[in-house]
Symmetry: C2
């Protein structure tokens, strides 16, 4: 099965399909059509079919897709078929929230390490995990062969932390600090920058007004 390079945009959508399938399977739904997935996701039905076609045709014409099989397929593509170990660096408000949040409960993800450099925070327990000293970070990720990390430290420390992660063998980083960072080739960094999200959202909050201006200009 040659995974012929799946477009970036498709990869972005897969985790959403995955979650929906999880819900459907929980409700014992065995077959789902691209049409109903379209209603749930807001993506067009054709697009959904195209997305699925990237990893091999397997729908049943006339009825739809087998939910279990589809989920298996998506899990394999993403690489979630075995639980992935993830660490969080930075146990401020945001890091703490994430470690207690849905992510920590997601069946495909296993949060195995929490780090901070504040002595006040080190040693605190979150669920069954104790916050470790950031000094142990590099050893930990090397030994445990951690590949995925979430960075929730202040902007000033983020580059430093990311450098260490990269040296320790981490290949995928979710950076929540409001800075753009340098990473060596082969390391992937994604930005989840809430301030930026809000700012671009604010543009749309007054779009209606802008639309009216535009209409009037015609």
């Amino acid at each position: 099965m040659p995974y012929r390079s799946i477009p970036r945009m498709v990869i972005k959508r897969l985790p959403l399909y995955l979650r929906i399938l999880d819900n459907l399977i929980k409700r014992d739904v065995e077959i789902v059509s691209s049409r109903s997935l379209s209603e749930i996701t807001g993506f067009s039905a054709e697009q959904i079919r195209k997305d699925f076609a990237y990893f091999g045709a397997f729908g049943t014409r006339g009825s739809g897709y087998n939910t279990e099989y589809l989920r298996e397929r998506i899990l394999t593509i993403i690489g979630l078929n075995r639980q992935t170990s993830v660490i969080i660096v930075g146990m401020g408000h945001l890091g703490t929230a994430i470690s207690r949040y849905n992510i920590a409960k997601n069946p495909y993800i296993n949060i195995v390490g929490l780090f901070d450099r504040d002595p006040q925070v080190i040693g605190q327990k979150i669920f069954d995990l104790e916050v470790k000293d950031a000094k142990q970070l590099k050893d930990f990720i090397t030994e445990a062969k951690i590949k995925v990390a979430i960075v929730t430290v202040p902007a000033e420390c983020a580059q430093e932390v990311v450098d260490e992660l990269a040296e320790g063998g981490v290949t995928a980083i979710l950076n929540m600090a409001p800075v753009r960072l340098q990473v060596p080739k082969g390391v992937h960094i994604h930005y989840a920058d809430l301030t930026i999200e809000i700012h671009s959202l604010i543009y749309y909050s007054s779009e209606t007004e802008r639309d009216i201006e535009e209409l009037e200009a015609l």
Copy 2:
């Protein structure tokens, strides 16, 4: 000044330019080239110039762009030239983190309301804001003419909250709950779904292995 419809992708990049300009101006940098912005952002210099061209040419050939003027221009486009009032609904870990986080400190954003329906949480103070009862939500947004809201309630309640927001006149919503929601036409919803971010990141964490497989297949 006719804002001839600025492409979606450009809007996404503007807030990042804005932040960088803020930093440059703080360091008394008066001129910046597309080249150096390219190094900071990772976007190509041509793209940056094109982005700026969408809201009128104003760089000085040979030297670069005036940081102050550029910032003013971007603020106007996004609609941040006057502070925007934002509310947060759902004061769980995530909502609390956000209300204490950078967003709360951003000079262009003013968090003016926090809501929850848990009596234990109502009345708590975060900075100088008291958490209000979610029952007051609709009245509050109507009176204060709130246009932008962040939703950090559990997935099960999110649709309900969003319906209320839309009825109360909110036109832009950042949903952090792990569900896709229905909104009436004219209301914009953005999703900041950390679980999905992590999942798609995990795909890339083993991309190197995948690349090798692909190379071997040739």
